[in-house]
Structure formats: structure tokens, C-alpha cells
């Protein structure tokens, strides 16, 4: 299939995932409200928010980088999506994964992060800078166990291609990395908590102390783009982890179910545990998750 004939399918996949992401956001807001003995917002509230923000007529910005920040951010989310094979075995939904492998996806995460950080930086709000400095610092620690997990998977399957990693996990639930290397999965899932930015690792946007942190200055269309990205990015990340540890998905239904469960893990932990300070979360990641990561490699190497 040519690159250009692929574009409609890519757009279709993008559309599905954004809407699915919004849906999941709505559902989880609802669930966490119920846990807190509140009723919570309607499940369709994210769509309403988005439409409202996109439709706003008054909009302000602080400069070119501020303007480009959301573009970078959404570019980051869309980029990961573009380079990720969604449905295993489907040529229509393999996106542009021919351009690069797992490492590309890993490093493309930074594309959005950095762009956003710069955009927020130009906003000139100190809370933005505080949020970013926390986010970046925390992210270094979050990535470490994940790096170990990915190396362990690469050793296990001798590939860095996401499609091949998924392919290797086909043929039954016991072929998933979850069972073939539980340590890698554990390390990876702990990293996932941080990557999702949910409690206890949500000090980056801690609403009570630095009102929502980095995006504090973004409004109307800018914020809408960021919200779009948040919906997309979180679900794409869930799909990435699903591909890495839980055998990927061979059809859309499987994808929805598995990614929902992965996503739910972050919500579950976040609802139970309170927020860490940044230095606490960094040290936390450098203890148990790091050890799990090392064990993952030792496990695959020697057992």
C-alpha cells in the first residue's frame, strides 16, 4: 500500500482514537468522582469542553514559541500515533510504522514535551516553569525502568520493531511479555504510571499549588489543541504499553478492551495513592522500579 493511499486510513484511525480517548477520559472522570462519592460530570463532557474551546472567539498569545507550543505538543501525540502500528496484521492500520521502530516512538515523546515546555516557557508564567522543571525532572526517573524493560524485550525477541514484538507475543496469553518476563512488565507498568501523569505522579500539574502548571497560560484554541492531544496521547500510550507487554491487538475490539484496562491501571493507582513530591517520586523510581528493571534483564538473560 502506498504512503498516500494510507493517509485516509491514518486519518480514520486518528479520528477513532481521539474520540475513544475523549470517551475514556469522560468515563474515568466519572469513575473517580464516584470513588470520591460525587456524581461527576457527564461522560460526554470532554466533547463539550472541546467544542467550547475550539469555538471561543477571544484568544490571546504571548509570542511565536507560545503559538507553536501546542502545535509541537499535538505533533508529539499525533507523531507517536503515526509511527505506531495499531492493529496487528492490518495493513490499513499500521500507520507509518515503516519509518522507524520502537526507539523512534520513545524519542518522539520528547518532541511534544519539549515543544510544550518551550511554548509554556514563553508564556512567562512562573508556574509554567515550575511545572516543566518538575515534569522534566520526574520524567528522567520515569524513563529509567522503562528503558530497562524495553532492553529486556529487545533481548528477548531480538528486535526493536514494535510489529515484530507484537508478532512474537501472538499465540495465546502465555506468550505475552506479562508472563514471559513479569519483571519487565512490572517495571514498564510502574513507568506507565508516571508517563500518564496521574496521581501519585501528578505534581507537574498539581492543581492546588501551581494551578495546572505548564498549560496555565493557554486559552481557547490553544487549550483545545492541548486537550485534543491529551485525549489522544494517553490512549496512544496505553496502546503502546499494550503492544509492549500485553500482546497487542489484532482487531479494534481487542484494542479497545486492552487499552482500557491498561489505562484503568493508572486510574486505579492514582485514586488510591496520594501525590508525591518531585524529589520523592524521583527517588521512588530509582528504587523498586529500577531494581525490577534490572531484574527484568537478568531474568531474560539467565533464566
Amino acid at each position: 500500500m502506498g504512503v498516500f493511499t494510507k493517509i485516509p486510513y491514518v486519518l480514520l484511525g486518528l479520528f477513532i482514537l481521539i474520540n475513544y480517548g475523549l470517551l475514556v477520559t469522560g468515563i474515568f472522570r466519572r469513575i473517580s468522582a464516584r470513588i470520591g462519592k460525587r456524581i461527576g460530570m457527564p461522560v460526554y463532557q470532554p466533547w463539550i469542553n472541546l467544542v467550547k474551546l475550539y469555538a471561543k472567539r477571544s484568544s490571546v498569545y504571548h509570542g511565536i514559541m507560545f503559538y507553536l507550543g501546542p502545535v509541537f505538543r499535538l505533533g508529539g501525540g499525533v507523531g507517536i500515533f503515526l509511527f505506531m502500528p495499531l492493529i496487528f496484521g492490518s495493513e490499513y492500520f499500521s500507520n507509518f510504522s515503516f519509518a522507524g521502530d520502537l526507539i523512534l516512538i520513545m524519542y518522539f515523546m520528547f518532541f511534544g514535551m519539549l515543544g510544550m515546555a518551550l511554548g509554556a516557557g514563553e508564556g512567562g508564567h512562573p508556574y509554567s516553569a515550575i511545572g516543566i522543571s518538575r515534569g522534566l525532572a520526574q520524567f528522567t526517573a520515569i524513563e529509567l525502568p522503562l528503558t530497562f524493560a524495553i532492553i529486556a524485550i529487545a533481548i528477548q525477541y531480538q528486535t526493536l520493531s514494535l510489529t515484530e514484538i507484537v508478532a512474537a507475543q501472538q499465540g495465546g496469553i502465555t506468550h505475552w511479555v506479562l508472563f514471559t518476563n513479569p519483571f519487565a512488565t512490572a517495571a514498564g507498568m510502574l513507568s506507565f504510571l508516571g508517563a500518564m501523569g496521574a496521581s501519585p505522579f501528578n505534581v507537574v500539574r498539581a492543581p492546588q499549588e501551581i494551578p495546572i502548571g505548564p498549560p496555565v497560560e493557554f486559552n481557547s484554541g490553544f487549550l483545545a489543541v492541548l486537550r485534543t492531544n491529551a485525549a489522544l496521547l494517553h490512549i496512544v500510550e496505553a496502546i503502546l504499553w499494550m503492544n509492549l507487554f500485553f500482546g497487542g491487538a489484532t482487531n479494534w475490539i481487542e484494542l479497545f478492551i486492552k487499552s482500557f484496562c491498561v489505562y484503568f491501571f493508572a486510574l486505579f493507582v492514582g485514586t488510591v495513592f496520594p501525590r508525591f513530591r518531585v524529589d520523592q517520586s524521583i527517588r521512588w523510581y530509582l528504587k523498586v522500579p529500577l531494581i525490577l528493571g534490572i531484574l527484568a534483564i537478568l531474568y531474560i538473560k539467565f533464566i
Binding site: 516543566i132 522534566l136 525532572a137 528522567t140 513530591r277
Partner: protein
Amino acid sequence: MVNPIHIVSISLGVAFFLGFLRKANHNLTSTIMLLAFAANAFISAQWLWAFIYSNTEPFYIFTAGFRPPYSISLLMGRNEAIFTFLINIAGLLSGIFMLKTYLRHGVYAMMAFLGLILGLNIIILTRDLFNFFVFMEVSSIATAGMIILIKNVKSVSAGFKYIVASSLISILLLLGIVFIYYFGGSLNIDDMITNHLLVSKGAEVAVFLVLMSILLELKPFPANGWALDVYEGSLPGIGALLSATSATAVYFVLNKLLAFANPYWYNVVAVVGMISFIGSNLLGIKQKNAQRLLGYSSVGQIGLLLVILGFSNTLGEKFEYIAFGVLISHYLAKSGLFWLAGIVKQDNIKNWAALQKKPIFLFFMGVFLFTLAGFPPFPSFFAKWQLIMELSTAGMYAWVIGILFGSFLEAVYLFRWFGYAMKGEHNDLPMFELPWHKILPVVIGVLSVFGISYISKDWLPGGTSLNFIPLYFIAFMYLIDFAPAKVKNTIVILVITYYSWLVIPNYYNTDIIRLIFSSIFLIGAILTLIPGYLKKGSRKGFYPAALLMFSGLIGLVESTNIYQFFFSWELMTIGSYLLIIRGKYSMPHAFKYLLFSVGGAYFMLMGFGMAHAGQASLSFDILRTGVPYSSIIFLLIAIGFMTKLASLGFHIWLPGAYGESEADVAPMVSSILINAGVFGFIILMTHIPDANIGYFNIPYMLGWIGVISALVGNIMASLQEDARKLVAYSSIGVMGYVLFGMAMMSHLGWLTAITYTINHFLFKGLLFLAIGGVILRTKTFNMYEMGGLIKKMPWSFIAVLIGIITLAGIPPLSGYAGKWLFYNAIVLKGWYIQGAFIMFAGIIAFLYCFRLIYAIFLGQLKDEHRNIKEASVWFIIPQYIIIITIMLFSAFPQYVLNPIGNWLSQYFPNNALVWNGSLATSSLGYWNAFNIMMIVMGMFVVLLLFLLLVNRGSKKVGQFDIVYAAERPERPETTHMAYNLYAHYNKAIGFLITPWITKSWDNISEWVNTIANHTRKIYNGNGQAYALHILIYIVIAYLIINGGLF
């Protein structure tokens, strides 16, 4: 030809004649004296010429018409001609230098001076022991008289101590001579040698006394307190004389007399020399008085000469070359420095900053110091190289270590002194007088150094292969140093462009590695020279230094053997040191840099020596596995390169050296110079691919050092407030990756390392140029004092943005290539744990990348920067050339990486990348740079258009229009959140960067200083104690020598 006896007759005659002219005009008498020296020098020169060019036979002079043993005979041979020439020239120049002193003190001083030089001439020429004694006494008495030419407590007590010591030595000498006559029945040296007169046990004692007293005349450590006081207390001109003439003459005598001694005496001489060399240089470290420091250095150099003499048999035919190289360097440099001391008239080495008032004198001082320290292109460099090679060949590694250690100690105090002179505060210091008669000898000294350097390189095997052409150009640039900087900049850029045109195409299709490195060095040079157009005035001294560095660098690439390599390496060191020290507060950092460079170079030199041992060739091929000790050779040379790469443990010089240097020097050193280490590693590791010492695999250890360097470098960079230091620490980090990649010893590992090297050259040049340009405008280095500059300096902002995206390895720019290769490499190599940590280090890089761009360009603009302009266009131009290069490399990496891969396959055939157009496939994954670039760009444009559509009519608001809950921002300073941005990170993992390495280096330095300080307490200034030292020295020496140790 004039009979050498006339040296005696002229000196004596003039000395007596002057006695009649007491009342005459001193101008006349001093002229007569100088003429006498000139005549003497002429006689020696004439003989020297004859010996060199027409192979004249040695010439004997028999006095009083009898033959020995009934008369005294003198010999004028080739060596005698050289040495008397040196003595007489030194006499002449010294006479000129001290003209004022002689004019003031009249004929008696002149007579003493003539007596001194006469005595020295005769002890060189004589073949009679007693005659030697007599003229030794003559010169001693004359010297004592000369010491007290200046009347103060120091000089009088120095003169007194000198008399005490030299009388003591004379007594021994005389006793020895008496015994020798008793046992041998002759006083003629030739007699003793040819007839082996001194073989009995008793004669050994006699020989002991004679040789020991001569050794003591050479002021061996620690029985040399008197000599140091003399150096310190007498006029600088006298210091020059003592150091250049007396020591030289006595050294010659020792060589002459060793011929009749038992061969073990050579070992004694070597041991005495080594103790002197190390001990004296160690004590020199604590010395603050310039003349005394020179005294220590003199003693040290004589010690080295003794070592060389002691091994004259081992060195064989190279002995003369080596001894001459060291001796002439010492002779010229030491007298030059003493003369400079006489000009600048500052006791404390810190006050030599006064030289800055006349920068040409700094140049003179630099020439002398670099000569002493054995840097190229000076004769001592060639001699030291040869010495190390020969000693290594003989397997005498302990001695090699001793010599290099002593040389290192010497470099410590010499270059601390030079640092003070170059950068010390000089406004309060008085301007020194510059009479012609003081300048002339110094200038002649400097010219002679260069002249002899030029000649001496040809005497060495392989010396003619050295490329001196760049040096001529540098000399030319120094001659036109007065010209405006813009003119010189243009000349230099044109010449380097032309040179690039000559050199780089040669490597195209033949040697991809040399193609890459010559491009980095030469094109990098051009790019970093462009900002030089900004400078007003003539920018004195900059261009010769920069060119020295660049010619050293390109010399590395062009070198085909270890000798050329080391020569270029040292040139590069001098040039970069002189560049780095130009920064306003660079003095201590440049000093550290130099020490690490010198230390590293000595390790390397030792490695080269070991490799060369037993092999005739000098080519790189002698470095190979299978050579004895190849692992140790590997380690030694690797340490040399690691000092340049600033790997952890050897990194402490880097932040200051790079951070404090001038705005356009920083990119030169950080993005270009540092690659010399990488190139070195490539050379080393392609020849010795594996090295194990015991159970330790050295590349494996290097890998871990790389990891820790990367981690610590990046964490440190994140915690800096000073933009330049941040970028400098980042170099430590990136070079950690490179070292790690090289250490992997695999195809992809090396490909990663080389990719990182190219990327680092590009982004570090870009960042340092951008930051340099900004700092020149903001006048502050602290990032938190900047902020919001994107609006004022958009061009610089874009440059930094591209720089950090490349640095951080974010796709689609070329930094990602490095990351992708790294992942593949570490999985394939099996270095999982360290690999994961190095990726972790890579993520930490985000912290400082963000800090750099945010704190400077984003956030709140400060009031004082409201009218600031964009950085100078001369900084912007090279940045954008680099940006274009980055873009091309990012989109089409295959044109660079594919040939590198092909080249690598000859060393590491496994796991090579397969290229299919722009698609690279490893056995693990794949990467299509061009596609990624296109996809990302397309996506970005679409999203941007989307946002523009959604946000049409968006309004730009002012700086303080921000959401500030129920408050309003006070000032930009309080709103710009940039100071201590990563406080929490420091709290979390700051313990990882406890500076225990810096502390341990500080401790080592502290110990050395303490040892030096305590040891020098034996020099208590008491003449009796000094006499006692001499006696104890003799007794101990006797016990050891006759105790059978030798």
C-alpha cells in the same frame, strides 16, 4: 686557526691590563672586556666550525714545551669547542646584560668576571687534574666576588655560604687529587684512562672524592641549600651565569673524568641525577621567589642531564644528541629567564604580571618556559622524546616514570608562574626599564632557541618528516601581530580555506575517518574564526595561538607515525592552552588544563615508548596486539586521550577552561579540540582492539567510565547557573557517550561514537557560538539574569533550539540517529545495564537543554535588556552554516554513515547496518531518516495550519498579561522562574555528584604541596647546616657506593 691557548692569554692579558686602567673611563674598559669575550667566542667558534665542517683532528696544546706528565696539556676537541663556545657566548651576553653593573663597579668586577670565564674555559680544556683544581678555585673565587656585586644581606650571606660550601668541596677535591697522584702516579687524565692507573681499592676512594666533589659542584639535591641561596641572593645576571656557564662546564668535566672511573660510577651519576631531578622539582612547587624558583629548575635540569650522562652507554650514539638537546635548552632558557628576572625586577612570581605592560616579553618568557618544559618545536622536545624512546628500548621503565614525573612537577611550577605573568593583576605594578643592553641578550636568546630548534629536528630519525610549514606561517602571523584583527582574520581564514582545499579532497574516497576529522578540524576552524571579525584592535597573540592549535589538530590527522602524532599533540596543547588562558578569569582553569594535558601527554609518551621498544619503526603499526605489554600500552595511551575527552576522573579542568574562555574560543576548544581525543582513540583502538590486565578488560572499564562521565556530566550541567558552564559540562556528558561507544568495540558502537562526534561538533559549536553571541550582548553569564530574549534575538533562539533538539536526540534531527544506533548497539553488544544508564543520562540532558533555552530566551524579559540587539551577525553567520549542515545530515545521514559503516566493516564485520536508500536496517530495528523528516514536517505544517484556522484573530498580549491569581507580577526578576530551577532534582539525586573526584585531586595537590613544604625546611638558611648537608651527603654516598649497592 687561532690557537686555543689564546683564550687563556686573551682573558688573562685583558684581566691584568684592565688593572692598569682603573682610572680610565669604564665605557672603555667594559668594551675591552666584551671584546675579550667576543675574541674568545670567535676562537671557539672557529674550532667548532672546523670540527663540524672539515673533520679536523682534536688539537693538543702542551704548555712549557714539555709533554705530560711533566707539563700541563690542554685539548681542543669537538666537544671542547662546543662547550667553550657556549661558555664564551654566555660570557659575552652576560657581560652585555650586566653592562650597567660593570660600569658602576669598575674594573675589579670586570677582572673577576674575566677570571670566572677563563677558569671555566680552562677546566673544559685541561687534561690535567691539578690544573683543573686550580682553575676550579679561580672560578669559585671569582664567582664569590661576583655574588656580592650587589650589596644586601641576602647576597652577602649567599656569598659567605658559597665560600663555605665551595671550600669544603675544594678540600675534598684536593684530597682526592692527592690520593689519585699517590695511587696513579700521574695527574694527566689521558694517562689515567689509557694506562688504567686507578684500579686499586685505594684509588677507588680517591676517585670517589674527586667525582663526588664534582657532583657536589653540580648542586645535587638535597645538598644544595647554599646554591639555592646563591641563585636567590645574587644579581639575576649572575644567576644566568651560574646556571648557564658554571653548571655547563662542570657537567662537561664530569663527563671527562668519568672516563677513568669504574663503570659503576655511571649508575651513581644517574641515581644522583634522578634524586636531584625529582626532589628539586618537587620543592620548586612551593616556591614563590622567581630567582629561587629558577634555581630549583636549574638544579632539576642538571639532575636530568646527570641521568642522561649516567645512561650514556645505554643511549649509545644518541647520547650526544639527547644531552645536547636538554643542555642547550636549559642553557638558553635558563639564562633567558634569569635575564628576564633582571629586567622585570620582581622577586615574587605573582608580580611578574608586570610583563603584561610589554607583551613581547611575555612571548619571550613563554618561549623560554615552553623550551624548558620540553614542548615542540624546541630542542628539548626532540631530546626528551628520544630519551624516552631509548630508555624504553632498554626496558628501563622505572627511569622513564621518574623522568616524566619530575618533568611534570617542573611543568607545575613553570606554568603556574607563566599563568601569573599572563593573567595576574598588573595595574599597580611599576613599569620596568628597558635599556638596550638588557634587551639584546634576551632577543639573541630567543632567536637562538628558534634557530637551534630548526636545526636540531633534522638530526633526529624521522625528524625531517615533521611538517614545519604551519609553524612558519604561525611565525609570520606573529610578525604581523600588530595588524588589525580583521585583516589577520581574513588572512587566516583564506589560508585555512586553501589548506582545506589541499587536504580534505585527498581523503575523499580514500579515508573516511580522516575525511571527517580533517573536515571537523579545518572547516570548524573557519567557522569559529568568523566571529573574530567582531574584534576591534589587533587582538594580539590570538592568531598564533589559534593557529598552533589548529595546525596541531590537522597534524594529528595527517600524521602517519607516533612521532608526528605526538609532535602535533603537543603543538595542539600549547595552542589550546594559550587560547584558553586568554579568558578574563581563565588563569587557574588554563593551568589545570595544561597540567592535565601535560600529564596525559606523558602517559601517552610512555605508552609510545613501550610500543616502540624493540621495534625500529615509528609507524602506528607498532601499536598492535601481540606486542609485549600491549594492554599496558593501551591503558597508558588511553589515559592520555581521556584527559582530552575529559572523561570522569580527568574532567575537572573542563568546565572552567571552556566556560571562562572568550566567546569565540569556547566553540573552538569545546566543539573542535575535544575531538582530538576521539581521533586518538580511533587510532589506538583500531590498532589494539582488545586489552586485558589480569581479569580486567580495559575497554569494559572505559565503558563504565563513559557511563559515569555521561551521568555526572549531564547532572552537573543541569545544575549550573552559568550558561557557559552548562554547555561545558554537557561536553563531559557527550564525550562520555562517545567513550562508551568506542569502548563497545563493535560495529554499531563505533558508528554511534562517530555519529555522536559529528553531532557534538555541530551542536556544541552551534550552542557555544549562540551563547557566546548572546553573552556579549547581555554582559552576564548567569541564565537567571537573562530571560525573554526570544523577542530580541530570534535568530539566536532558533540556533539554540536546533542545537538542543539535536543534542537531546529528538527526531527528526540527527541527534536521533545517535540514540537509535545506541539502543541497537547496546542490545547487540550485551552491555544492558550500563547501556540503560547511558540512555538515562541522555534523558537527563533534557533538563539542561530546557534550562538553557528557557532561562535565556523564554520567560520574562528584564528591564535592562529592553533595548538589547540581536547577537552580532558575525556570530550568527557560522551558526546558520552549522544549522544547514545539521539539516542536511539529518535528512541524508546515509551519505555519511554508510561510508563509515563500510570502513568499520574491515575492523568489525558483524552487525553492520544495511542501507537501502534512506532506510537503515540493523538486525534489531530500522530507521528511515528522510521519511521521518518528511512525515514530521508534513504533520507539523498541517497542525500549524489547523491551529491558525482555529485561532484566527488571536491577539498578542504584553509581557505581564498573565494569569496571576488575585495578584500581579512584581518585577521580571521575581517572575522569571529560573534561579535554581532544578532544586528538587538536586535534592533527589544530588548525592550522585558529590565532587569527590575534585576533592581527591585537591588532596593530591595538597599532599604534594605539603611534602614540598616540609622537605624544603631542610634549607634553613644556615651556612653551617648547608656544610653539614654536604658532609652527610658524602658520607651516605660513600656508605652506599662502597657498601656494594653499585
